[in-house]
């Protein structure tokens, strides 16, 4: 599932490890999410939205899949 995670993270100047810590996941999970290879569960998607103060729809594009 395509998403804007990498852009949003770069805008805040966060490393993958920093974002992983904010979300409580492994860095490997951030790599998979940013690559669009892994679609997160609803709770994780909402957590991502909260961390970036954006809605889930603004971050993830459900129509565009890899």
């Amino acid at each position: 599932m395509k998403n804007r995670l990498k852009v949003l993270r770069a805008e805040r100047d966060w490393s993958q490890a920093e974002l992983a810590d904010r979300l409580g996941v492994a860095r490997q999970t951030i790599v998979a999410l940013e690559a669009g290879k892994y679609a997160p569960s609803l709770p994780l998607a909402f957590k991502i939205g909260k961390v970036f103060s954006q809605s889930v729809e603004d971050i993830f594009d459900a129509d565009a899949t890899d």
Binding site: V25, A32, P40
Partner: protein, 131 residues
């Protein structure tokens, strides 16, 4: 100080627990073999089964890790275990057929090795697929 990231904390707890259980296994194994060889006690089997105790501890340690790690890590573990189960079943049925041609009956270690070996290899390939 404990890590605020629950996944990092789960990884650390798993590594510590697993390492301690592995060290205990080696220690109990050598102690049991040494005692049985030296004292040749009655009911030696009981002592030779003692190393199973630290191995049994590895099961709840792994289950705890599985429950505490993040959802993506859980997916990798689940997918690779499913592949390992399939590979082991295939190897077992293949060897069962070959046994009828006169090949020797394998040790139970064959199953352990097949599950653990194929799980380790599958984990590498499954993780690579998500990069």
């Amino acid at each position: 100080m404990s890590d605020p990231n629950p996944t990092t904390r789960a990884n650390r707890r798993y590594l510590t627990g697993f390492s301690l259980a592995a060290i205990a296994y080696v220690a109990v194994l050598f102690a049991a073999i040494g005692y049985v060889n030296y004292a040749q006690p009655h009911g030696a089997l009981r002592y030779l089964l003692a190393p199973l105790i630290p191995i049994a501890f590895m099961v709840p340690i792994f289950i705890r890790y599985f429950r505490e790690t993040d959802e993506f890590q859980r997916r990798i573990v689940t997918e690779s275990l499913a592949i390992a189960g399939g590979v082991t079943a295939l190897l077992a049925v293949t060897y069962a057929f070959l046994e009828s041609t006169g090949l020797p009956h394998p040790s139970a270690w064959f199953t352990w090795l097949a599950v653990m070996g194929s799980w380790a290899i599958a984990r590498i390939f499954v993780a690579r697929r998500y990069r």
